[in-house]
Amino acid sequence: MPLWLELTIRVGGVVVAFLTLPLIVGQAEHKVMAHMQGRLGPMYAGAFHGWAQLIADGVKFVQKEDVTPRAADRPVFQLAPLVALVPYLLVLLVIPLGPDDLVGQALDIGLFFALAVVGVGVVAVLMSGWASANKYSLLGGLRAAAQLLGYELPLVLAAASVAMAAGTLSLSGIVETWEPWWLLWQAPALGVFFIAGVAEIRRPPFDLPLARSELGFGDRTQYTGLRDAVFPLAAYVGIVVIAALTTVLFLGGWQGPFGDDYLGWLWTLVKVFAVSFVIIWLRVSYPRLREDQLQRLCWLVLVPVALAQLVLTAAVKIAM
């Protein structure tokens, strides 16, 4: 296969994943939340159980007026949604779907790349929060920055533990060396990574920066139209990214009960959707954390657990 064709197929595949997976997760959120709350959720768009609801939402957003507040810092305000979305798209590039190079772009340090790029998303929150020239937006942006700065540390430490265990920073390499008993050995890191990941994408119960009831919608308050639609889209891609990273790092990625070689992609997708389901479940189950509870959880629980896990990983690694 010529290089350009391979490249086109790979990038095309990632773009397709980028366009479909978040919508599936978003639709699942609508339906799962509704059923957990004894409702039906969207039922009309697309006739069958409202499957086209998010597409209809998208059409609605496109038709709306794109307003930039007069007092806002125009270029920064308009650029922020893009900065929020692009990092997640880049992360999807390096997440392996199956064995034998079934990945957008295999990187030797894929794990590092993913964490670095996810971290850039903070800049977008600060940009949108500040440039809106709105005190609720600014408060939301500051809350988000304080939260993301704190939670990045346990996220990276937990990921470092599994990288130590596998002896590689390549995401495919980590899945290859993964064995089922790691579920037990890396269980604390799994918990820390998952919680910190949910906080990193600001999903409930860590949605203090958005806090609809006290801040309007945090840093998104002033956005309208298509730009406003980009933020929830980025949030859904964020769910997919965190679920996929959890899957690849801690749940064995494409390793399944049988047929890893040809069914690997299916196992990965099943695990990604299972983890996404749990993230949605959390939103329905837990109330929002207060700022002090948020920081306490991060610095007094997650960071020490992650550090202890690092020691445990090193000890087991040396003993073996």
């Binding site: 590092f112 670095a116 903070v122 942006g141 500051l142």
Partner: protein
């Protein structure tokens, strides 16, 4: 000129240009955002030079943490939208020091290398970097960690003035 040359020149121009904007713009927060662009371009330079780990460390630490902390602090204290006209700190000492250091380094490097061609070393993978740091460069690495520890302790002392005074009161 190869593709790598073009990329190096382009990224270098972006880095220098955005760096200039950082110090010349009157918009406080935008200066921080230009810094993101500048550091990102430097990370791109590392990538072109095949030092991929250093490049992504640059993004993770500088863009993801240092600049964000800086922006956070600026927004927390004073961050008007639009130009701040009261930034009256004289620019010439910084110009002197910065320009002098930049020109001096440039002259030194140009004089040292002229047109000699330097082959790219092996790619800066995580593995190679790890072996180098933990074999040849262990001592500087450990000394640096002591420096960081001192900075941490210093930060705690500065942010909590009650520590020192309470101790003194009890001693005397």
């Amino acid at each position: 000129m190869t593709a790598a040359d073009v990329l190096l020149l382009g990224l270098g121009a972006v880095a220098v240009g955005s760096g200039l904007l950082v110090v010349t713009t009157k918009h406080l927060v935008r200066a921080g955002l230009y810094l993101v662009v500048c550091l990102g371009a430097v990370a791109g330079l590392y990538l072109v030079l095949t030092a991929e780990l250093v490049a992504w460390v640059q993004v993770l630490i500088y863009v993801g943490a240092v600049v964000v902390l800086l922006l956070f602090a600026v927004m927390l204290t004073r961050a008007p939208i639009g130009a701040s006209d009261d930034l009256d700190r004289p620019g010439w000492p910084a110009l002197l020091v910065g320009g002098g250091a930049g020109l001096g380094l440039a002259a030194l490097l140009i004089d040292a290398f002229r047109w000699t061609k330097v082959d790219l070393p092996e790619a800066g993978t995580a593995e190679r970097l790890g072996t180098e740091i933990f074999r040849s460069w262990v001592l500087p690495f450990e000394v640096l960690s002591v420096l960081l520890l001192a900075a941490l302790v210093g930060a705690i002392i500065v942010s909590r003035p009650d520590i020192g005074t309470a101790g003194k009161g009890a001693d005397r």
